[in-house]
């Protein structure tokens, strides 16, 4: 039986390397046919904001990594609605690229349905 794997994306996009390296780990796992679902929560929801231009602080944009997810079989990503509300954001404010975003009210219940959780 294939394990159901969830990757938590908890970090703001450029303040901590874990945001980028987490997505890299998800892509590497997907390349090995272990496709994880993603849940953006906490400051991780900032990764989904459109029109990021991190070149000004000498960083590469994370958007390319996010856009690569569907090519590796990641069909959708969950977004914690509480985390959005706490930060004054809503689903419409987020980048609606090729990765459909699914709002989740009860993150704990979602996490409990998975066999393994990667926390980034």
């Amino acid at each position: 039986m294939t394990k159901r794997i969830l990757a938590l994306c908890r970090q703001a996009p450029y303040g901590n390397a874990l945001a980028r390296e987490g997505l890299e780990a998800v892509l590497a796992a997907a390349a090995m046919d272990q496709v994880a679902d993603l849940l953006f929560c906490g400051d991780g929801v900032f990764q989904l904001l459109p029109e990021q231009s991190p070149a000004g602080i000498g960083q590469k944009s994370l958007q390319r990594n996010l856009q690569a997810l569907p090519l590796f079989g990641v069909e959708q990503a969950y977004v914690c609605t509480k985390s959005l509300a706490q930060r004054g954001l809503d689903l419409e404010a987020l980048s609606q690229g090729q990765l459909p975003l699914v709002p989740v009210d009860d993150s704990a219940a979602l996490i409990a349905t998975y066999d393994s959780v990667l926390s980034f």
């Binding site: 390397a17 780990a25 990667l118």
Partner: protein
């Protein structure tokens, strides 16, 4: 039960790396199996042979190496994260034309596939730091 650990924090910066080592010791003592320890992000610094903490502080590197020898542990340092942060094996140092290598004995460099494999093969993945 079969465990794997993911370590994301540098030694001596936060408690996470020390907690990972203590957790590894405890689970082995309880008769569980440790499939792999994967060092990622700042956790790659755990695999540096050059750390030299003061004598009255815990030497985490010596702790990992002793546990590795005792239980033939698979201590894997992510190669991409390690290159960014300057943890290099002899072969990587010469390939990248760097003046020194510092990957500690008992550790090996490997790709992110080893984390995915650890998830697939283990009953539990426990993450420290980040």
């Amino acid at each position: 039960m079969k465990f794997s650990l993911a370590v994301y924090s540098a030694p001596h910066s936060s408690q996470a790396a020390a907690s990972a080592l203590r957790f590894a010791r405890a689970l082995l003592r309880e008769g569980h199996q440790l499939y792999r320890v994967f060092f990622y992000c700042d956790g790659v610094h755990n695999g540096s042979s050059l750390s030299a903490p003061p004598q009255d502080e815990t030497d985490l590197l010596a702790g990992w190496q002793a546990l590795q020898q005792q239980h033939q542990l698979d201590l894997v340092v992510c190669i991409a994260a390690a290159q960014r942060r300057g943890v290099l094996s002899d072969s990587e140092a010469s390939r990248l034309e760097k003046p020194a290598a510092n990957l500690a004995a008992g550790f090996e460099l490997a790709g992110l596939g080893q984390l995915a494999d650890a998830v697939a093969q283990s009953d539990r993945l426990v993450t420290f730091g980040g």
